[in-house]
Amino acid sequence: MPASTVNTKAAPRPAARRGPPLAWVGWVFLILLALVTVIYIGSKAWSNPILFLQNFLDGLKLGFVYALIALGYTMVYGIVKLINFAHGDVFMVGAFTSFYAVSRFNLHQWPLALFPGINPGLSIVIGSLTVVLLSMGVCVILAVTIERVAYKPLRDAPRIAALITAIGVSFFLEFFGALPFVFSGRFIPYKSPFPTTAWYIQDGIHPIVSGTASPDNTISFSNIFLIIAAASILVQILLQFIVKRTKVGIAMRAASYDKSTARLMGINVDQIISFTFAIGAAFAGLGGVLYAVAYSSIWTQLGILPGLKAFVAAVLGGIGSIPGAFVGALIMGQAESLTMSYISTPMRDAVAFTILIIVLLVKPTGLFGEPAQEKA
């Protein structure tokens, strides 16, 4: 009998310490906020589902481009814990490289110029691929140079010093590019290396005759959207393969987990870091070309906001996680597209950062992120 009385007395103790006080207030606030957003957007979607689907497609397009940029951010942050601000400007350089290749040097027509008898369709495919590969190559060279010149000497310096350096590199690229003899500071109309075709869906898929608008209440999409989606998904698969299956990938993961131990295991960490920058830059170059083709106007500060949003996407998905970056980028694309069409176009940037703050407060590791390891 005395034992049971002790038990009943002891029982309320754990109940009295129920975590932090008033935690429910914050949750109720967040849930209410989410409910209001969902109900608002849901009612709009219900009243015009076609428009909603069109926005959804636009958001996907944006999200796939963000995914290409976010990969570079997430890999670099995963391995050197540096927000590589210059990544967005590498993306811009990729867009400009392809612009010069196409507009000045007609590089996209080289198969037709060399072999006049070639199938024009094949010529466009090969030519466009050459342009993309050239941009990727230029971006890789640029990123590796930046890494070697600016970041490598600061590897043991405080992280903030490296971050400021990254900002400096980013500014240098933007304003050096804006000099009149480099890229010029104006908006430049971008000429696509391949012809655009669009379709609309209304009892089947019909092509849109160029120069005319798609009929009302239909969803339209173009080959650019298909190419962006395909490229983005392919890159994801390729990167998953590289990181999970190849020796370099294993070395990358080892270096991101613990650099000094990786060095003891015979991994050349500096080379691996350069390789990480190179892969990220290659995808950023691809993203730059596709972004320029899709939005058809480029300037030297083109990379800032997509870069920042891609970084937010990487954080949202869990920084260091490659599938996380993909999912985060798709969510960011949707958030931006829905904000643009249902709330207010100028506030599209605000939404990205609001999402960042909320995600970091609620789940600091992001959706797919691993909890931070305690290091001695």
Partner: protein, 478 residues
């Protein structure tokens, strides 16, 4: 190239930097009368230089005056940022946003006032007072329950501030309609439309603009400061971008048609613009049209210097440094780490808001593109150049930045050719990169000098900020 002009520019700039250091040295004297004398002398010297004319040509051209104002506002913004980043180790890019908020807030108050509408002043005044009271009340309530999560306390503060804002708008509208007859008509201006009243309103508007920026920084900083250094940097960058977006759409998204959105806000009373009086001869002629333009700028400069310095040299300031060096150790010493970060952020933003208000009333024209987040990297670069955790260095870097880069380099590059000025933005990042590679703790490290090292107004602190001056400087965020 006109070498004479260039040499003259250099001499003027060196003289101005010597002036600010003389001011700091004098303020660092022990006796109160020495400090007072320094302040008066420092004021009189510049005022005399502004008034002086050599053979009919003003010694101090309008361009030089612009540079002086830019240097003063930049010193305010950068001092605030140094408080947040240099002394507390929080990498903030939001400073430029608070600068913009302060500028637009103060400009709106005086703009409405000159148009016979007291609502700006009254609403913002009630807003900052009620908002401050709401924050204090909620803070008292939350302090009783230990360990409330950030999200919940944010919710409480947000609702309290929104409620206070609504009450302020309601009260302010009532009071401003009651005050409306005081302005009189265009033919018979009332007592509120007098120039004296405008000067008083200007003073209040600067203080209120700072307080408003501080209020915004409180509600923004509360959730964001808990994120950790890198994420905090990105979130504050986002804040600066959002502020600019809102300013561009201030007439559509925000209910302020007089701000005219991206077209820019015209018609702000240029209270600080006419530093030199009219051309009438004689001493009486000088003072006939004299306006307290330079006096205001000087008063607010001294105010900001004293606020920042006394904050850093107080026990709160020492706690701030402890938080920068090691958060866990600081917590073990009984320092409220989150509260300390928030307080530093709020004080830094307050100073930035004051700087913005000064800027607005000097320029008389505001456009959102001046508050672009790219320009917001300037104070950051200044703080890094001057040394993280060195107020002396920040002042030197702000004045040096404005005079040599904005002034001298612009003059020099302007003479080299039309394309050359765009090189400035190529040279800044290179300088920043070199500095980061060669001397990451900034040019002056944590060295302090003059006023910033000496015993302050009645302060009984004997120890200098971070120990003896010979100590190895340490970088923030390590």
């Amino acid at each position: 190239m006109e070498l004479g002009y260039l040499a003259g520019t250099i001499v003027k700039m060196v003289a101005l930097i010597a002036w600010i250091y003389g001011l700091l040295w004098g303020l660092g004297r022990k006796k109160l009368w020495q400090k007072a004398l320094t302040v008066v002398l420092a004021f009189v010297v510049i005022q005399a230089v502004i008034l002086a004319k050599l053979g009919g040509v003003a010694l101090f051209s309008a361009f030089d005056q612009t540079l002086l104002y830019q240097a003063i506002t930049m010193a305010m913004v950068a001092l605030g940022l140094n408080l947040i980043y240099g002394f507390n180790g929080q990498f903030s890019l939001a400073q430029w946003g608070f600068y913009g908020i302060g500028a637009y807030c103060a400009a709106d108050i005086t703009y409405r006032w000159t148009n016979g509408d007291a609502s700006g002043l009254v609403i913002v005044g009630f807003g900052v007072i009620l908002g401050g009271l709401a924050i204090l009340g909620v803070g008292k309530f939350l302090k009783r329950k230990r360990g409330v999560p950030v999200l919940s306390s944010f919710t409480f503060y947000l609702f309290a501030i929104v409620a206070a804002g609504l009450v302020a708008v309601w009260l302010g509208k009532a009071v401003s309609t009651a005050l409306a007859p005081g302005f009189g008509t265009a033919e018979a201006p009332g007592p509120l439309a007098s120039p004296m009243a405008l000067q008083a309103v200007f003073f209040l508007s600067v203080i209120f603009a700072g307080a408003f920026a501080a209020l915004v920084s409180f509600i923004f900083g509360l959730p964001v400061l808990s994120l950790g250094s890198d994420y905090f940097g990105i979130a504050t960058l986002g804040f600066a971008i959002i502020v600019k977006t809102l300013l561009v759409n201030s007439d559509t998204i925000l209910p302020f048609p007089e701000m005219k959105g991206g077209r820019g806000m015209l018609g702000i009373p240029k209270i600080l613009a006419s530093m030199a009086p009219g051309d009438e001869p004689g001493i009486a002629g000088f003072f006939k049209n004299w306006t307290p333009a330079w006096l205001w700028a000087f008063v607010f400069l001294i105010l900001v210097l004293v606020i920042v310095r006394n904050f850093v040299r107080s026990s709160t300031g020492r706690a701030t440094l402890a938080v920068r060096e090691d958060e866990i150790a600081a917590r073990a010493m009984g320092i409220d780490v989150a509260g300390n970060k928030l307080l530093t952020f709020v004080v830094g933003s307050f100073v930035a808001g004051i700087g913005g208000a000064i800027y607005a009333h000097y320029m008389g024209f505001l456009t959102p593109s001046s508050f672009d987040f790219i320009a917001g990297f300037n104070p950051l670069i200044i703080v890094v150049f001057g040394g993280l955790g060195s107020m002396t260095g920040t002042i030197a870097a702000s004045f040096g930045w404005i005079f040599f880069l904005e002034g001298f380099l612009r003059v020099l590059l302007g003479q080299l050719g039309t394309d050359a000025p765009s090189w400035r933005f190529v040279l800044y990042p290179i300088a920043l990169l070199l500095l980061m590679l060669v001397r990451p703790q900034g040019l002056l490290g944590t060295v302090e000098w003059g006023f910033f090292r000496a015993e302050g107004f009645g302060a009984r602190l004997k120890e200098a900020i971070a120990g003896p001056p010979g100590q190895k400087p340490k970088m923030a965020g390590e």
